[in-house]
């Protein structure tokens, strides 16, 4: 065990100070407590976002052929599962949402609708499969049963490592998701297991050339059973106020 030196009190104080998001000063609650995650958001993720499929088109815009596992670092065990894919069996078993779980759904074509469920929970709705993800900034007491979207714990990553004074100069959303039901990374049965852990980073950039806002989502999937190494891909969405076009679609096994 390390012995605490005389300066340790100062160091702890500094760590607390340096770890205090500058947003605290501005977004402090009415009772003087820390601001809510909603109030402290260094970046605005809310709105309707349309996915732009300029990558992996053949594996996203349609259900790829059985056995097409291109670009996914699968284990031998995963290959056997992929080659045994049977969408009819999934549908019969009521498991047609296997391809719409959290590790896959941000990569599926469609719109996202992001808004605050409450001051500590960000809600992401998807057209694809009519799914709902809840990003909780306060860890729940219990995780409940495994589900397609699992349990997601979120925190803000403040630009500059939380140093400096004044309002935050941007940041990103970091989300870790577990407690997932086994599902498919791709709709053609490329599997992930119940041991999967998902890490995501949500960034927003605005291209002043066209004033488009882009949501850049990096998805890192770790699965000791079915992936030989962590797999990470990034998906792009641009902000579009076309809520009238919101067309949720049910899960389809094929």
């Amino acid at each position: 065990m390390l012995r605490r030196g005389p300066a340790s009190g100062v160091i702890i104080g500094l760590v607390l100070l340096s770890g205090t998001p500058s947003a605290f000063a501005q977004a402090r609650g009415r009772q003087g407590g820390p601001p809510s995650p909603r109030a402290a958001a260094p970046v605005d993720l809310t709105g309707t976002w349309v996915s732009v499929v300029t990558e992996d088109w053949r594996w996203r815009m349609r259900t790829p052929p059985k056995g097409d596992v291109t670009s996914v670092p699968l284990t031998e065990a995963a290959l056997k599962v992929a080659n045994a894919w049977d969408p009819a069996r999934d549908a019969a078993a009521g498991e047609q949402c296997r391809g719409y779980g959290a590790p896959a759904v941000m990569r599926l074509p469609g719109r996202l609708r992001i808004g605050w469920e409450n001051d500590t929970t960000l809600k992401v709705e998807t057209e694809a499969g009519t799914q709902t993800r809840l990003f909780q900034f306060v860890r729940p007491q219990t995780s409940g049963k495994p589900s397609w979207q699992g349990t997601s714990i979120a925190n803000w990553e403040i630009a500059g490592g939380r140093r400096g004074r004044g309002a935050p100069r941007g940041g990103s959303l970091h989300v870790v998701t577990a407690n997932l039901r086994p599902g498919y990374l791709r709709k053609n049965g490329v599997p992930y297991s119940a041991s999967v852990q998902l890490t995501e980073y949500f960034n927003v950039v605005t291209d002043e050339t066209t004033s488009d806002s882009w949501l850049i989502v990096t998805t890192i999937v770790e699965d000791p059973l079915y992936l030989s190494v962590p797999r990470y891909v990034t998906s792009s969405h641009f902000k579009r106020d076309d809520s009238n076009a919101w067309t949720p679609t049910p899960c389809e096994a094929e």
């Binding site: 100062v10 104080g13 500094l14 100070l17 340096s18 260094p42 970046v43 349309v50 996915s51 732009v52 499929v53 300029t54 990558e55 992996d56 088109w57 053949r58 815009m61 349609r62 052929p65 291109t70 670009s71 996914v72 670092p73 074509p109 469609g110 719109r111 057209e127 694809a128 630009a159 500059g160 140093r163 400096g164 004074r165 935050p168 100069r169 941007g170 940041g171 990103s172 970091h174 980073y201 960034n203 950039v205 291209d207 050339t209 066209t210 488009d212 882009w214 850049i216 990096t218 890192i220 797999r231 990470y232 891909v233 990034t234 998906s235 792009s236 641009f238 579009r240 076309d242 076009a245």
Partner: protein, 620 residues
């Protein structure tokens, strides 16, 4: 308590003025998206999910992979916007200002790449007519922890390396995002020529401490036995391979043809369900246009400069021997050209060291208060007869001087008056004869020294180098001259090479399309790139931006492909109107075409139609 206050103060000072994330390190690519496209490479006819224009699609459809065997393209690297997707490791290093200790630049290098510098020091962007490169010119700023990079001055490249082009008018935004040991780069390309909407792509890398980016020198070899000037391509509608990709992968053919609709989720319900198109965004961030009367001076290399805005470009050699001008601009701009030359001369004089004489013989004290006289304009070379290149002859000649003596000065009273004007003999003939197409030029505007063979040389070094004039028979006109500065390795091409329009073929004055192509191939024969088809021999077009051999090669390819198409139509017996209606230039029109002005696309097509097959080989 005191210690805490001090420590807090230190922390506050340590907070950076702007967020600075360290991107330096060795980054390994991961191919977990688009792997087949990246390694081994895309299939022919795969335009999925790219918001290409019809022009880009036709470029892709007529692209022949054999074009890569041309010497100009064997060592071409991926451009800044594509290199992220290339099959290569990445090394990023940083430059730090020793005083502020802020990051002032990042350097990114990949296998087969040129050095890519991203400046964070606030330096201004070069003029729009400066050289374009594979890496382009990149500046950046911090947006929180994200580095936003703006790229301009790109050479033509490709959106996908199966023939889908990205023009030299494109700009790019990049967003570098570091999440722990992962690097994500989002690239958004704006191309007013070949894209109908912004094209976003993301690429992911992982930190790899054991990685090396090896050197990758490239040597051009003769890969195939092909006649000079042949450019591999498919005539429109003749590429038999375009449907193979869709067939092989069971895709709808309309999807494989690409376009903005294919990148939206609604495309799965049919193209009509796609959201309305968005603007592609402006192209190259061109600086505000210069006032009409202003002349822009752009350094080229060594003593060589180019004056822009005088009508045609004017290439200038300015140094201790005086001033030599290649072309003279329009008459209206002659005074402004003179002022620009004077600015150059003044700048040079400031750099001239004082003479090395003793104080009691030549006082250097008094001299310091008197501006020395400018070195005179001694030579003007006319690349051809057109008034946007010869119109300033009279004014500029009169402002200059010819050094002569002996029996020449004694016999010819005005031999020393004014600068000498050099040109091919046919320029003089056309300025004085019935073929001039206008009133006879003033006597002082006429060439004073002409040549009638394949070329001539200035008889002595000028500003430290030899200068050659080479005749280009039946090209832009029948009297074209290309000027080669041998020491600086700069070619003033006149109007046989332009970056602003299709070649202007002055059929009435002896121009032919095959002569233009021959001249372009001649320039390429002469030019040697510095590294990877970039830099090295620089080429000043008659109109447009500073170029190198790659730019000329792109232009040569374009002109040759269009010539071949029209030649094939002529071979089928098509009339001029039928050829025009077939739009043989449609894939290049957004870049070079015009429907109004002095040189329209229709005029170009007609000139090609009328002169194709009239070869006039240059003796290089």
């Amino acid at each position: 308590m005191k210690a805490v206050v001090v420590a807090v103060a230190i922390l506050a000072l340590a907070a950076p003025a702007a967020a600075q994330v360290d991107f330096s390190g060795e980054w390994a690519p991961r191919f977990w998206e688009d792997q087949p496209e990246r390694v081994p490479g895309p299939e022919l006819g795969d335009y999925l999910g790219i918001p290409i224009s019809d022009a880009a699609r036709l470029r892709g459809d007529t692209w022949d992979a054999a074009i890569q065997t041309q010497p100009e393209w064997q060592c071409r690297p991926h451009s800044a916007d594509y290199i992220w997707r290339g099959p290569s490791n990445l090394r990023i290093s940083k430059e730090v200002d020793p005083v502020s200790r802020e990051i002032t630049a990042f350097h990114a290098e990949w296998l087969r790449s040129v050095d890519r510098t991203v400046y964070l020091d606030g330096r201004p962007r070069p003029p729009s007519d400066a050289l374009h490169t594979w890496a382009g010119f990149s500046t950046a700023r911090w947006i929180g922890d994200i580095l936003e990079v703006t790229v301009t001055h790109l050479k033509e490249g490709y959106l996908r390396r199966n023939g889908l082009p990205r023009s030299d008018k494109a700009t790019e935004k990049e967003y570098w995002i570091r999440n722990g040991d992962y690097l994500t780069v989002a690239s958004i390309v704006h191309d007013p020529v070949y894209l109908t909407e912004p094209f976003i792509r993301t690429t992911d890398y992982e930190l790899d401490l054991h990685q090396q980016v090896p050197p990758y020198p490239c040597s051009v070899v003769q890969e195939t036995d092909r006649a000079r000037g042949v450019v591999p391509h498919f005539l429109p509608g003749s590429n038999p391979f375009l449907t193979e990709f869709a067939t092989r992968h069971g895709l709808r053919l309309e999807a494989s043809r690409g376009g903005a609709a294919t990148m939206y989720p609604d495309f799965r319900r049919g193209p009509a369900a796609a959201p309305p198109a968005r603007a592609a965004g402006p192209g190259a961030a061109a600086p505000a246009p210069a006032p009409a009367a202003a002349i822009q001076i752009l350094p080229v290399r060594g003593n060589i400069y180019v004056l822009l805005g005088a009508g045609g470009n004017i290439t200038v050699s300015a140094g201790r021997d005086g001033v030599l001008l290649v072309d003279a601009g329009t008459p209206q701009m002659a005074d402004a050209v003179l002022a620009a030359v004077r600015r150059l001369q003044d700048g040079l004089d400031l750099q001239v060291p004082p003479p090395g004489f003793a104080a009691e013989t030549r006082s250097s004290v008094a001299d310091r208060h008197v501006e020395p006289p400018a070195k005179p304009i001694r030579y003007i070379i006319n690349t051809h007869v057109h008034p946007d290149h010869t119109g300033g002859n009279e004014t500029l000649r009169r402002a200059g001087r010819t050094f002569t003596g002996g029996n020449v000065a004694g016999t010819i009273a005005d031999a020393a008056q004014g600068a000498a004007i050099l040109a091919h003999e046919k320029v003089l003939n056309r300025m004085t004869g019935p073929g001039s197409g206008g009133p006879a030029a003033p006597f002082d505007a006429l060439p004073t020294e002409t040549y009638y063979t394949s070329g001539m040389k200035l008889s002595h070094f000028f500003n430290g180098e030899g200068i050659q004039l080479r005749h280009q028979p039946a090209a832009h006109s029948d009297g074209d001259t290309i000027v080669y500065f041998r020491g600086s390795d700069v070619i003033a091409a006149g109007d046989v090479y332009l970056t602003t329009s299709y070649p202007i073929v002055d059929v009435e004055r002896g121009g032919t399309i095959d002569g233009v192509i021959d001249s372009l191939n001649g320039i390429l024969d002469l030019a040697i790139p510095e590294f990877r088809t970039e830099g090295g021999t620089l080429v000043i077009p008659g109109h447009g931006r500073i170029s190198d051999s790659a730019d000329v090669a792109y232009y040569r390819d374009m002109v040759t492909i269009i010539r071949d198409r029209i030649q094939a139509m002529v071979g089928k017996g098509m009339t001029l109107e039928q050829v025009k209606a077939a739009r043989p230039t449609s894939d290049y029109d957004p870049r070079y075409g015009a429907t109004a002005g002095p040189w329209t696309t229709d005029m170009f097509v007609e000139a090609v139609y009328r002169t194709v097959g009239q070869r006039a080989t240059t003796s290089w």
